[in-house]
Symmetry: C2
Subunit: 271 residues, 2 copies
Amino acid sequence: LAVSRAFPRAKRYGYSHRAETREAALAAGVVDAVFDRVEEAAGQGGLVVLASPIGTFEELFLKMRDSLQPGTVVTDVGSTKVLPTRWAIKHLPKQVGFLGSHPMAGSEQRGVDFARADLFEKANCILTPTAKTKPRLIQFLEGFWTELGMHVSKMTPAQHDKVLARISHLPHILAAALVNSSELKQMLLCGKGFLDTTRLASGPENVWRDILMANAESIDESIARFIKELTNFQVALRQGDEDAVCRMLAEAREKRNQLVEMKLQRKELPA
Amino acid sequence: LAVSRAFPRAKRYGYSHRAETREAALAAGVVDAVFDRVEEAAGQGGLVVLASPIGTFEELFLKMRDSLQPGTVVTDVGSTKVLPTRWAIKHLPKQVGFLGSHPMAGSEQRGVDFARADLFEKANCILTPTAKTKPRLIQFLEGFWTELGMHVSKMTPAQHDKVLARISHLPHILAAALVNSSELKQMLLCGKGFLDTTRLASGPENVWRDILMANAESIDESIARFIKELTNFQVALRQGDEDAVCRMLAEAREKRNQLVEMKLQRKELPA
């Protein structure tokens, strides 16, 4: 929907292995035509965007490789970038350009029913070029996401995965672990705070399994870092050290408020 | 504001030790009159509601005890109930009835500026009677909070503190620890998920320090429980056990979706 709004003359072709999804996408006007084989959809040229769970990418690259037209640009919107980039370099032909994208927008809901033309507006998109990525390719995708309304930044796939472990993958695990350590009967008494803190846990498990497995090492490091902070609270509470507790709470409040302030300035949040 | 809407003829008297707060409360129409000494405000009779940080309660009870009229009902809206109840029993005269309340509504924002008449609608309120609390007192406060639009439930102060450690105090610590284990520059790239997961961390540290210190034991237990769940994720990721990761994510998603479904049925969430 966002592509259609930013590029009204673009033809949008869709592939899904599920007939139901293909029909829903056509009915919702999310694509102009659908294919039941990925090689046909990807063979139409232009820009190919992979938006399925990361664990499906390698197979999709293998299936589409022989039907890609020279000059086609391939990207993906996966939440980790090291593995997709490695697979693309390994499997895609040289006359095709690959560059990973991570448009950081969406919600815990999934599927065509939740499609929105304004999903990408004012949100961040990270491009992950390697030392060998051609400048023209970077320029092309930078222009594409910018036209959809995004703030584009760049880093290597490895840097991306390290940062995302902290600001996205760890928070997802925390939300899930919090729900799993709670009882439904007790949770029923909760306020909005608990629902916000656990919202991410409602995301689809197959998508998130793939993300977590693909970034296990960086996530391991961020879990360790987090447990250290949590243990600081635990120790201070056991010792009855109210100054330490207050200092940690104040640090968090000030840091988060600074974050919100900067997001407001960049218009990434509604005023 | 909610009291004024539910009980239009009630007189609302306010006390704050800060002149600025007293003036703002009068200007916002949140009270009909203000006092700069708590004994004067509490001495007006009727229902006395303590709504300051928990750490101030004992001193407030001591200050007001001699001016309370017989038959006055005293409650508090603190987020822990064992200590306030203990202090009330210790310090308040026998001809005054005390029963703790925990209206679970509000946000990370504080002060008269964020007052809303509809804050309590469809939200949960927990009353914490002991074996000695008079039935008429329970009835009175149950009626009071119900008139403000709340769903009232009852449990002992000890049960309350145990449940709240899990559904409120632990989530607050997790939000703060997540912010403290992140770098501002990296957080700037985050999406809405991170902001939701960390929202609680923007709460006022003096209020939350008092809550955490007053419930340290139950929180310690809930942190241990949480670290166990988090470690399950850590181990599964290290072992590359994608089935275990998927199972834990699915458990969390199903449990949270069930929670949301039940909250929708009870109209505690907008449809």
